[in-house]
């Protein structure tokens, strides 16, 4: 479908409607002036100008809206309202057919008004609810026209100066009171239904749409009041004098309505003004969050998100984490901002902003191009850092897996072989003993004790590479083994019984192991306390001694390696070691 072609055709229709409305208004002035029943000075000076003003204001305001937003039907509907408004003029012509046509269409403007409110501000029914409401008001109107006019016979009611009704079907006059009552009740019901749909929209709408709807919402309330007053009067609940006061108010209300609708349309112009403010504000933007906030404010969309394009075509958020742009139909709109033909960033926003003003987001994005480029570069750096962090984590994971494999190889290979060798030596020694070969027994005993030493060293080595007890039973059991092996008395105070990811358990183990080694080597401490506690999603590791202090994660200290290990997991390691006041190694490791 050629959208531009459609809008050109629609603009022609629109102009025709406006011309017809101008003619109808002029005719209304003329008819009012020459109509002997109408030609009182109050009518001529007060009512007729107001009536014409209402119609024409809808016509012209509709034209302005249509020019500004050719794809939106609100403007056209407003002008159609302006034209239909003059339908009553027909009944001033002394022709039976025109008189009764005018009479039948005297409520038609309410139908157009209902239509306008149902589709405001998009101009099209958005869903089943709106289509249903539209169908209801047109069905009601068809019923009113087809049931009231053919059953209306004013002459038989005793109106002598009335024109005969050419549409009257003889013998149906008795139906007229009932059909009139039904269509009157229908007006009230539908007025509430239309307002219900409108306010439901208002509640569901995003901030920019709501902003556009608010003036129309206020303008709708007096219209509703008048509709109710008319119904009360028809049932004799309200005196005709009160109604006579209310009627000019009703008309004035209709005159105010297009202004309210126009303000809504102009709100998009205010949106552009906000973008202008935003361009000025850009000069002062210091941080990345305020760029997003400023854009959100300028576009009137608090849900606005920024995505930055990486050279590879991926998108990342402000912190460098990968982002998937929403696909069409997901309820979010994406406006891509380019720089030198290359994607720079994407603004993810409420689609309503596009409906209101398709260029607004692109305009704001272009205005912020330099700031966005700056942000994009920062996001790119953060993404690289994130990649580096992930790569460090993978390296550590691979190294840990390798340590585990190595320990397993030592355990299954060399250790078993040496133990078996020990058994063989033992049997050889027993043999030698039975042959009373004292020298050989002595040699074999020496070999056995060396083998025991070798086994013990190999065991320590394997344990240091990867403690089997850690995999088997977790942090608690492994730390108790560490404590048992420490030459300085170690009290293991708190340890979690829960199991954690392998990398987390390994980090806790190696931090404590390294801290205990340092304490034993340098501190001269008399005792050490170890505690591991879980606080929320972090493990807090504390190793505290009562030694000399003065330790630091300096050169040659294994604690640097531990700090690296902890930071890969997103944690931190701190050493507090005031002189002569003991050392506290404190690590916080995310475990969630």
């Amino acid at each position: 479908m050629n959208f531009a072609g459609l809008s050109v055709k629609q603009q022609h229709v629109h102009v025709a409607v406006v011309v017809a409305g101008i003619v109808a208004g002029l005719f209304g002035i003329l008819a009012a002036a020459i109509n002997p029943y109408n030609a009182t000075w109050v009518n001529l000076v007060v009512y007729t100008p107001i009536e014409v003003a209402v119609g024409w204001s809808f016509l012209f305001v509709g034209l302005i809206a249509g020019r500004r937003r050719p794809e939106n039907r609100v403007g056209l509907l407003m002008s159609i309202f302006g034209l239909i408004w003059f339908a009553y003029v027909l009944s001033w012509i002394q022709s039976p057919v025109l008189y009764y046509l005018g009479d039948a269409f005297r409520w038609a403007f309410l139908v157009v008004l209902g239509h306008l409110y149902i589709v405001y501000p998009r101009g099209r029914p958005a869903g089943k609810l709106e289509r249903g409401a539209l169908a209801a008001i047109y069905v009601w109107f068809a019923f009113a026209v087809l049931s009231e006019t053919p059953t209306n016979d004013p002459i038989s009611q005793g109106c002598r100066q009335c024109l005969p009704n050419p549409f009257f079907i003889p013998g149906t006059a008795w139906l007229n009171p009932a059909t009139t009552a039904i269509s009157q009740a229908g007006i009230t019901l539908l007025a509430f239904a239309v307002l219900g749909v409108f306010f439901w929209h208002w509640r569901q709408a995003s901030a920019p749409v709501r902003r556009a709807m608010t003036p129309a919402a206020w303008a709708a309330l007096p219209v509703l009041g008048v509709v109710i007053a008319l119904q009360l009067e028809a049932r004799g609940l309200l005196s005709a004098q009160v109604l006579a006061v209310l009627m000019p108010i009703e008309w004035l209300t209709y005159a105010v309505l297009p202004v309210g609708l126009l303000v809504g349309v102009l709100r998009t112009r205010l949106g552009r003004a906000a973008v202008t403010d935003f361009v000025i504000e850009l000069n002062r933007i210091p941080t990345r969050t305020s760029l997003r906030d400023s854009l959100a404010r300028a576009l009137g969309d608090p849900s606005l998100e920024l995505a930055f394009a990486l050279p590879g075509g991926e998108y990342v958020d402000m912190l460098g984490a990968t982002m998937i742009l929403p696909s069409p139909g997901s309820g979010r709109a994406v406006t891509s901002i380019e720089s030198a033909g290359r994607p720079l960033a994407a603004l993810i926003h409420d689609p309503a902003i596009d409906e209101e003003d398709p260029e607004l987001v692109a305009a704001a994005g272009s205005a912020a191009r330099l700031a966005l480029e700056n942000e994009r570069l920062q996001a790119e750096v953060r993404a690289s850092l994130e990649e580096v962090r992930a790569s460090r984590a993978r390296i550590l994971e691979a190294a840990d897996a390798e340590r585990k494999r190595l320990e397993r190889d030592i355990h299954d290979g060399a250790q078993q072989r040496l133990v078996a060798l020990g058994l063989a030596l033992r049997m050889a020694r027993d043999q030698a003993a039975t042959h009373a070969d004292e020298a050989l027994v002595k040699d074999l005993d020496g070999a056995t004790s060396q083998l025991k030493q070798a086994l013990s060293e190999l065991r320590d080595l394997a344990q240091g590479i990867h403690p089997a007890v850690l995999s088997r039973a977790g942090i608690g059991a492994a730390l108790r083994v560490l404590a048992e092996l420490s030459p300085i008395p170690v009290e293991v105070k708190d340890v979690p019984t829960a199991r954690y990811p392998e990398s987390v358990e390994a980090a806790v183990y190696f931090v404590v192991s390294e801290a205990l080694t340092n304490t034993a080597k340098h501190s001269g401490a008399g005792r050490v306390e170890v505690s591991v506690r879980q606080q929320d999603d972090r493990l807090l590791v504390d190793v505290r001694d009562d030694g000399l202090g003065g330790a630091a994660a300096g050169n040659g200290s294994g604690l640097i390696g531990m700090a690296d290990r902890v930071s890969v997991l997103g944690g931190k390691l701190e050493i507090a070691s005031p002189s002569a006041a003991g050392t506290l190694v404190h690590a916080e490791i995310p475990c969630g």
Partner: protein
């Protein structure tokens, strides 16, 4: 005495089997893992089973689960668990959670044939065995206000031997003192630790280990 051996290292298995046979122990079968061992045992039940703690498929603590299964099916069978590393928590759990005849020894301890045979005999009689290294580490664990602090050196020595699963007679032989002397030390240890004396070796080991606190 009849013994069945389970270990995934063929080298160690054959060495152990040879050593046992030389020492006059009847080896009824060899298995590579827990499953194979249970199959062997359902055909023929030995007096004691020697089982490696780390075996396929997970190489972590198959020995423990297998020991539990053996005791569930054959309550009178002794189980000796061998471990390459000292895992105090595991050893304590094994001894305290098992009401039956069970032992825990370091693998290189079996080179000492007399120690091994002594352990097997104690298990055959329904007693318990705990590696001296484990006992030393348990007793070395520092606790504030440990009742162990009140024991004399001699009493600590005797407590350690008890914790390994040795009888008063065995202790008296090892320390070259009379059994009566050992008995009087044991009475003193029990009263200092606030324990009731009992003639049951196994119960004594448990009581001591429980008292030491384990993990």
């Amino acid at each position: 005495m009849r013994v069945t051996v389970a270990d995934d290292s063929a080298l160690f298995r054959s060495g152990l089997v040879r050593l046992l046979r030389e020492a006059g122990v009847a080896v009824m079968g060899e298995a590579r893992d827990g499953k194979e061992l249970l199959n062997l045992l359902s055909n023929e039940q030995p007096d004691v089973v020697i089982v490696d703690i780390r075996m396929p498929p997970t190489h972590t603590d198959e020995g423990l689960t297998t020991a539990r299964e053996i005791h569930r099916r054959w309550p009178d069978m002794g189980v000796l668990v061998l471990s390459t590393y000292v895992d105090t928590d595991f050893a304590t759990e094994l001894i305290t959670r098992t009401q039956r005849s069970v032992g825990y020894l370091l693998k290189d301890r079996v080179q000492d044939t007399d120690e091994l045979l002594d352990a097997l005999k104690r298990l055959e009689r329904g007693g318990s065995v705990l590696d001296p290294e484990v006992v030393a580490r348990l007793m070395g664990r520092r606790r504030t206000q440990s009742p162990l602090e009140q024991l004399s050196d001699r009493e600590r020595e005797i407590l350690a031997l008890m914790a390994q699963g040795r009888s008063n007679q065995a202790i008296s032989e090892r320390l070259h003192v009379s059994e009566r002397t050992v008995e009087s030390h044991v009475g003193s240890i029990f009263s200092k630790l606030g324990l009731e004396p009992t003639p049951d070796d196994h119960r004594r080991v448990m009581a001591v280990l429980l008292h030491l606190g384990g993990p």
